[in-house]
Amino acid sequence: MRHRYNDCVGWLAELMGHGSFHVKELSLCTLMKFVELEAEYPLVKVEWKGSFTFPRELLKVVVDGLIPLNEDASLLISRFQEYMEYDDIRYFVMKAVTESIGQVMQKTKERPLPFYQQNIFSLISPINMPNKERDLVKFMVKQDNREEWKVSKLQAHKQAFERMWLSFLKHKLPTGLYKKVLVILHDSILPYMNEPTLMIDFLTVAYGIGGAISLLALNGLFILIHQHNLEYPDFYKKLYSLLDPSIYHVKYRARFFHLLDLFLSSSHLPAYLVAAFIKRLSRLALTAPPEALLMVIPFICNLFRRHPACKVLVHRPNGPADLSEDPYIMEQEEPSESRALESSLWELQALQNHYYPDVAQAAAILNQSLSEIEDDISGLLELSASELFDKEVKKSAAIVPLEFEQVRGLFGKKNDIFAEHFSLD
């Protein structure tokens, strides 16, 4: 009887790799039913009263079926999510995943397995950890004296969670997955770890990669620095080197500038550092789209308000009358040697000639003395070009001025550039 049962389980596990989703789903459900029943009526006799049984091997089989090595099983995994609501299942799945990662990765010797990692990620990223001990009430298997059981301890859950993530992140990840992990890191991983500082290695490596990944790692680092007292050497230098033209164009612009605002909000920062940031931001603003400009100009104004010592950048009454070169050195990695304080914000002056009227007006503020109160930029962070467009289209004008030069044709204007380069063929 037991042999038959074991055979059946084996076949079902094989069927989880079947081609049709329907078969997979059915076998998954059957296996989970087995798990439930086996927990209730254990195969092996309980050794002493009060010990707890859970069919770990069986669950391990299910988990292995869920994360195949070379195909995308996200559909099946999303079906499995309903079982993850049970606290005990979740606990043992986390343990099983940790084990599985250890085994598989050892075998493959650091070779990245995109599908496998993708599957694991889609399995473990939606894990919804409980916040309090008393939330741990939903169990698939009813045990008599639950209180003493390890599974009902939040601490144990957290530990399993932490182990699982650490073992997952220990190995090299594909770039897309890297970004996904970093995006959810700060609000669905870090808060549920016993020792969030264990993430420091992962975050430091990510921060060092550069580009969008660095921007994303910033968020996790910030939480560690802010809440867990992490010392990070040369943090501002690295932050400074993160500023490149792409910051105004990437998707995570709002998130990055929100954090940058936080980092630069301290009034204890030296003036040279803030000046270097201001100068670099405005230099990069020369390549930015209007929606980013609308955000960064008030941002720079806020920096001036927080650090009045930097106002020399816009107001240098007794400076040299004529400079042949901008003293600021863009290529210098070290903010203290960039000579930003000797420079002026000619970039923003150039932006006063921007084609978009709002930007030109915002940049023109620098000509006047700044008011005391900081601008609220939180609303501007998420601004998109299409919003700008809609805003402009909705503006109604009483009069529509017209061109008075009589047209002669499509390219018939005076000195038409098109006429020189395009023909109407």
Binding site: D244, A360, L410, E420
Partner: protein
């Protein structure tokens, strides 16, 4: 002189009310806050204080709350009264009872026996149970069985309720004799009523008819008399003519002519050539000044205030002529032509009209007075016509003859008007008419795009142009009221049509080129509508792109039609304005195109370069800074380079430093390079790239690059004056000097020379901060008690700070007083305890003493004994 200090009130007074009265009358209890100055109109709240009363109040409150808390401290059990509203003083006790009752009922509701369906609630009316009343009713019914009762009630109901009562009664009482009679009489009554009302109606109608007849007769009489009298108002005159003598006689005509001649005003003298040139120059100068003002974006408020001033800028609007002008034109034939020549742009339209008027003038001589009159009386023409028609209809019943006449008149008129127009056409361009004899002369404005298309279908472009012209002329807004909206629609149709032409597999660009002119004219006529439809087109395009980004995550360049629309925008509207309702959205849209659209093919490159050209054209006058343009040009240069070159520059979004579409513009073949001749890029490439040989493709690439270099040159010229010109051009310079291969350099020398020019950097100056003066600052006090200065935000902040300060102070004071009170209580407790202890000790001692005394006395007694 000091004020009488209020003495401390005696503690533990009884009810507050009586105490207050006592206290108020007692001058020692009152503290007067003396004011230094009496200010008129200021209300003071705290001029008189009662320190004793307020103190006792505070103490009372503390004993009720704080002391209670203190005494219950460290005692776990608390008695809670959960009765509804027990401590709520706002609810009167009665209401409290009612609420409690309802709550109780609500609690019990639904818990009853399930078989009790209806009986838990007893319905009442005026406090009496309805069930009771029903019982009584039954008794009454049984009583009413007798005949007497029945008749009495019938009378009563009839008296009180009229006919309805009978009906009701019929239901209520059953098996009565008079039942048969009742409905009969009722029927009769109703019939009678109907007859009566009919009769009345008839009478009224006949009265009205007779009144109408009378008025008609009076009208006719009056008209007869009026013809005898002198003609005063042209309107009545005309009516009269239509009714009485539709064909005017010679005398009338002479009279009318004389009348008009009297009204003719002295006209301006003819202008000489120089004067005309000067005027034209002045006009252009004014327009240019206007444009500059808009470009700087200053005094927009001003323009808003006086729209009339701005309207001077579009002289083109003068299409809609004033009454006076028209009259003048219609009678001064020679002058019209000359003026038309003078006013250059303005207008065949005006000319047209002039001629129309002319011809009408001729007709006048011919004797068609009515018609002419209508036309010359401006826009009301149509309305008048309708008036006439209405008049005729009103006469319809009275005399058929005149009706017929009027109808005939109308038809005649119609024929004449159409004839007029056709004549006009012929007069305008007889050669063309002769050539295109098959085209109809009048066109109605198409109501839908389909009809518009069918109108133009199968015609050559010249014919299409003529059709458009005729549509405009036949439906000039001054001719009829609805024409304006119709023609406004025409602009939208034309735009759609152009878009369709551009989207053809082989775009008909020549036709588009020709169609621009009518588009421009329409735009000049209806700037608002044109702006609206242009915005609509742009919005659609932008939304399409947004959707594409949302769905696919990336966008592609739009079709040729959108590019053409953007180009047309620059032709119709001034692109140098600081803000313009159409141009500014177009700017943003183009910026999105340059930053968001992927570049995967050569066509994308051409489209992108087209947009770059557009940008440059848009800003050619205003010299505004467009970061996207430079980025894009750098990107174009970047994709013309072989992979893996050392970089000293960065490319932004649509371009990537590494990727698959990298060498899109790379030309490796030296032979192609040599054989290449500069040629214009045909726009049709955008829609369809012909299967071309490698050499041809390479030539296209080279043309693109040439265009790119030219654009860079132009940018360099435009942005020369920007303070951070070198920073802006930095990546371009690096690319050109280091990466671009030698054989491009010939074309670049010029640019590099220009780029070397370095503008000296100037620091920004600020207004000097004025010294602080000791002369008093005089501020108008608009509202008493309100802080002045600062904007709204700042004021709000100040107010909050002030409020916070006050609240903080108050809270600190309260806490201090609480502590004092508690300390006092504790002290009194301790004192009490001490005194109790003392007393007890005393008692003990005294008892001991007595004991001792007694004992001693006993001993003494024993000793004695």
């Amino acid at each position: 002189m000091g004020l009488p200090k209020a003495s401390a009130p005696s503690r533990g007074k009884g009810s507050a009310e009586s105490a207050m009265a006592v206290v108020r009358s007692n001058p020692f209890e009152v503290k007067v806050n003396r004011q230094k100055f009496d200010i008129l109109g200021r209300k003071t709240k705290n001029d008189v204080g009662l320190p004793g009363v307020s103190r006792s109040k505070a103490i009372k409150k503390r004993t009720q709350t704080l002391l209670k808390e203190y005494k219950e401290k460290e005692k776990t059990n608390v008695f809670k009264d959960k009765r509804f509203g027990e401590y709520n003083t706002k609810i009167s006790p009665e209401e409290k009872m009612i609420r409690r009752f309802t709550l109780e009922r609500q609690q019990n509701y639904g818990k009853k026996n399930i078989y009790n369906l209806n009986e838990d609630e007893e319905l009442t009316h005026y406090g009496q149970s309805l069930a009771e009343i029903e019982k009584i009713n039954d008794i009454v019914d049984s009583d009413s069985d007798t005949e007497e009762r029945g008749t009495l009630s019938a009378e009563l109901t009839a008296a009180h309720f009229g006919g309805g009562g009978g009906l009701l009664r019929k239901k209520a009482s059953s098996g009565q004799e008079d039942e048969e009679e009742k409905p009969k009489s009722r029927k009769e009554l109703i019939e009678e009523l109907i007859a009566k009302s009919k009769q009345e109606k008839q009478v009224r109608q006949s009265q009205r008819e007779s009144a109408l007849e009378l008025t008609e007769k009076l009208d006719n009489d009056w008209k007869e008399i009026q013809t005898l009298m002198a003609r005063k108002t042209p309107k009545s005159e005309r009516k009269d003519k239509e009714v009485e003598k539709p064909k005017p006689d010679e005398y009338d005509m002479i009279v009318r002519e004389l009348g008009f001649e009297m009204k003719a005003k002295p006209s301006e003298r003819m202008k000489t050539e120089e004067e005309l040139a000067k005027e034209e120059q002045a006009r252009l100068q004014k327009l240019e000044a206007d444009r500059l003002r808009r470009m700087r974006g200053i005094d927009e408020q001003e323009t808003k205030k006086k729209p009339s001033h701005v309207s001077a800028d579009d002289l083109a609007d003068g299409f809609i002529l004033d009454k006076d002008d028209r009259r003048l034109l219609s009678y001064k034939d020679g002058k019209i032509n000359i003026e038309n020549e003078e006013e250059e742009e303005d207008k065949e339209q005006e000319e047209e009209e002039g001629e129309e008027e002319e011809e009408e003038g001729e007709e006048e001589e011919g004797g068609k007075e009515d018609n002419e009159n209508d036309q010359s009386e401006e826009e009301s023409a149509a309305e008048d016509e309708e008036d006439v028609a209405a008049d005729n209809h009103s006469d319809l019943e009275s005399d058929l003859e005149s009706e017929e006449e009027a109808a005939g008149n109308k038809e005649e008129k119609k024929d004449e008007t159409t004839g007029d127009e056709s004549q006009n056409m012929e007069g305008l361009d007889p050669k063309m008419e002769a050539a295109k004899a098959e085209l109809p002369y009048t066109f109605a404005v198409p109501e839908s795009y389909e009809t518009f298309k069918s109108l133009l279908a199968g015609r050559t472009i010249e014919q299409q142009l003529i059709i458009l012209e005729r549509i405009q002329k036949c439906n000039h807004p001054s001719l009829a009221v609805g024409n304006k909206t119709k023609l406004e629609k025409l602009f939208g149709f034309l735009l759609d049509y152009i878009g369709e032409l551009a989207n053809l597999d082989l775009p008909d660009l020549k036709a588009i080129d020709k169609l621009i002119l009518p588009l421009y004219n329409l735009c000049q006529m209806f700037p608002e509508a044109a702006g609206g439809s242009m915005k609509f087109v742009l919005r659609d395009a932008a939304h399409d792109m947004e959707e594409a980004i949302e769905v696919k995550g990336r966008a592609t360049f739009p079709g040729l039609d959108t590019l053409i629309y953007l180009k047309i925008t620059s032709l119709l509207f001034p692109t140098s304005d600081f803000w313009h309702p159409v141009v500014t959205p177009a700017f943003i849209y183009m910026s999105q195109l340059l930053t968001k659209c992927r570049i995967t093919t050569l066509q994308d490159v051409i489209k992108g370069l087209f947009i770059c050209c557009l940008f440059l054209e848009y800003i050619s006058l205003s010299r505004r800074f467009v970061p996207e343009l430079i980025n894009f040009l750098v990107g174009i240069l970047h994709i013309s380079l072989p992979k893996k070159q050392a970089q000293g520059y960065t490319v932004v979004h649509p371009f990537t430093p590494m990727g698959k579409n990298l060498e899109l513009l790379l030309v490796c073949d030296k032979k192609d390079l040599e054989s290449w001749q500069k040629q214009n890029l045909p726009l049709s490439i955008v829609n369809r790239l012909k299967e071309a040989s490698r050499t041809e493709v390479n030539h296209i690439r080279l043309s693109c690059l040439a265009l790119c270099f030219d654009l860079i040159k132009r940018c360099a010229v435009l942005y020369e004056s920007l303070p951070s010109f070198h920073e802006i051009m930095h990546p371009v310079k690096i690319l050109l000097t280091q990466h671009v291969p030698e054989w491009y350099h010939g074309a670049l020398k010029e640019l590099e020379n220009k780029a070397k020019h370095y503008t000296p950097l100037v620091c920004e100056k600020k207004k000097p901060v004025p010294l602080k003066q000791y002369t008093p600052k005089i501020v108008k006090v608009l509202e008493f008690g309100r802080k002045q200065g600062g904007n709204k935000k700042e004021q709000e902040r100040k107010r909050l700070i002030h409020k916070h300060k006050r609240e903080f102070k108050g809270a600190v004071r309260e806490i201090r007083k609480d502590n004092q009170f508690l300390a006092r209580m504790q002290l009194s407790e301790i004192m009490e305890r001490d005194s109790a202890r003392k007393r007890k000790v005393k008692e003990l001692l005294s008892s001991l003493a007595t004991q001792e005394g007694e004992w001693k006395a006993m001993r003494r007694k024993k000793m004695k004994n």
